[in-house]
């Protein structure tokens, strides 16, 4: 495995790729907020929201179904919402008996469940599109511009940089573990869960210490280049008129969606 599996950015030349990253971040957050604010069962507004998403996919030149094809990762969590079907509110639709359980799906519950599903599905697609058209370092700059404390953005930048280095280290450690925990063919490994947990814990401890020592060396490398505790960053992005107009257009569209959802 190469650590590149962590890269979510898709190189391309498009309106969305060129857009100022803070516009992309802000619009994505507003889009997700709008989904959360739309009332349950606002199907026409949800439908139009989806059209907005398709249009954004089209603008990205990654294919109109780009985010859709990657959007199923939120589905397992939807399990948690299935119980919303049996909301005590609304009119009962049926009555199911499962042993000691009596489950009563209601119309309110059903609307609630599907609204949650649609909201989460639309929101996750927006987030998928955001990372696909924005290089992660640019996203970090966007957060800097949007007044997220520098210490947090810098920790995130370090996380992103060393994620790849440490992931490679994990892969090496796991490989070493596998090559040492061989079992004769046909013989079931007699190691207990406790033993396996201990080995994994040792790996975690080892990884921790290596990381700890690495942070010392990085600290030295930073000091050697004049670091004195004050983080300085370059103002790398400048909002162009096109960024402003795109942002305003998106805000208007989202407000319209809210209006339609409440009619």
């Amino acid at each position: 495995m190469h650590a590149d599996v962590f890269d979510r950015y898709h190189e391309s030349e498009s309106r969305l790729h060129r857009l100022d990253p803070r516009v992309k971040v802000a619009v994505t957050v507003l889009f997700i907020l709008s989904n959360a604010l739309l009332p349950d069962g606002a199907w026409s507004a949800f439908g139009l929201t989806w059209l907005l998403l398709v249009w954004a996919n089209h603008l990205s030149r990654l294919g109109v179904d780009f985010s859709f094809r990657r959007s199923f990762l939120a589905l397992p969590f939807a399990l948690a919402a299935t119980s919303a079907v049996f909301s005590p509110l609304g009119n009962p639709l049926a009555e199911w008996r499962l042993g000691p359980l009596t489950l009563i799906p209601t119309d309110y519950g059903l609307v609630k469940f599907f609204s949650i599903l649609v909201r989460s599905w639309l929101s996750v697609q927006a987030a998928i599109l955001l990372v696909a058209v924005t290089r992660f370092p640019d996203m970090i700059h966007a957060f800097e511009h949007l007044r997220v404390p520098k210490i947090l953005t810098t920790i995130i930048a370090f996380l992103y940089r060393y994620l790849f280095v440490l992931a490679d280290e994990v892969v090496r450690l796991l490989r070493a573990r596998e090559s040492r925990s061989a079992a004769a063919p046909g013989v079931r490994s007699a190691r207990s869960v406790l033993w396996r947990a201990k080995v994994t814990g040792n790996l975690a401890g080892q990884l921790f210490l290596r990381s700890y020592e690495r942070s010392d060396r990085i600290h030295n490398a930073m000091l050697a280049r004049g670091y004195d505790g004050n983080l300085r960053t370059l103002n790398l992005h400048v909002m162009k008129p096109g960024d402003w107009s795109f942002f305003s257009m998106c805000v208007i569209l989202i407000l319209l969606l809210q209006l339609i959802g409440r009619l």
Partner: protein
């Protein structure tokens, strides 16, 4: 990449109000953490916490086969709080959860405040608070408490996640609490085992990172109080919520919490209950305490066996 624990709430599940409330709490806590770590770590905080965040992220990739194709995973909040101190651990977990949401859509953006609270702040309070309380004790006791705290941190995260979903109207209390707790009581055991083994390893190689002096330096006595209160809260609330959801709903309604989350007027249907074992509040609390003792015992035994293995 799959989430190690089904605790990362995606967008769409929490109402705007619940998301907002937890964002507010998280922002305040993270703000305090920034000024605290700035004082205690100084210029070193950036490389240390940055690489530690990458460590937690990478450590979450570690898994170990348990049985029948399932694996134990690692969340790391309690371990981070014990070795780095609660404030630094909060920032580290904030960065980890932020990157998981932004880069991998593992957890939502609007829900991020709640996710950071559940997996970063709560785990820091339990992990560090309980460990800080026994920092001067023998190795065995410290490791046992660390394991216990790691288990409890996962269970408490699962509990608060269930409650947030319920308050948002996304789940029924009667179903989500037992389901989430059931899963995480097991996952938490893996967490406890890995945390204890990792601490054993660290203590053998770098005892200076875990001695009493360095632990007490990382956070004041207030953390013991916070850790114990949160732990007791989780231990008392878990069995209560899973066996007496009606009671919890009534309490929440009386205190006006339910109207926070739900847009529609709320009315209880009295015939809608899950008849669990006819438990009284007392017996469920006893059960919670017994459960905690069992885990404490397990962690104690593990600590001892690891010590022998280490010799």
């Amino acid at each position: 990449m799959n989430s190690p624990l089904p605790l990362h709430i995606p967008d769409g599940f929490l109402t705007v109000i619940i998301s907002g409330v937890f964002w507010a709490v998280t922002i305040v806590m993270v703000g305090i953490a920034i000024s605290k770590t700035n004082k205690s770590l100084g210029e070193k905080q950036v490389p240390l916490m940055g690489v530690m965040a990458a460590f937690i992220f990478a450590a979450q990739m570690l898994n170990f086969p348990v049985a029948g194709g399932t694996s134990g995973h690692f969340l790391g909040g309690a371990l981070a709080a014990i070795v780095l101190g609660p404030w630094a651990a909060m920032l580290v977990m904030t960065a980890v959860i932020g990157v998981q949401a932004l880069l991998f859509q593992d957890g939502g953006l609007l829900a991020m405040g709640a996710n950071i609270f559940n997996m970063g702040i709560l785990t820091a309070a339990i992990g560090f608070g309980l460990y800080r309380g026994v920092s001067g004790r023998t190795r065995k006791i410290r490791l046992a408490v660390a394991g216990c705290a790691a288990w409890l941190a996962v269970v408490a995260s699962a509990l608060i996640t269930s409650l947030q979903l319920w308050l948002s109207g996304a789940s029924q209390l009667q179903i989500v609490v037992p389901a989430m707790l059931g899963v995480h009581i097991l996952i938490g055991l893996g967490e406890a085992l890995i945390t204890v083994a990792a601490l054993t390893f660290i203590e053998r190689t770098r005892p200076d990172l875990l001695n009493q002096e360095s632990v007490t330096e990382k956070g004041g006595r207030g953390w013991i109080v916070a850790g114990v209160i949160v732990s007791i809260g989780a231990v008392l609330l878990s069995p209560f919520a899973s066996t007496h959801p009606d009671g919890l709903e009534r309490v929440a309604e009386d205190m006006g919490f339910l109207h926070l989350g739900q847009s529609a007027p709320y009315r209880l249907l009295p015939d809608y209950t899950i008849p669990f074992l006819g438990a009284t509040p007392l017996s469920t609390i006893v059960a919670g305490v017994v459960g905690a003792l069992v885990v404490l015992g397990l962690a104690f035994v593990l600590g001892q066996s690891l010590r022998k293995a280490g010799r």
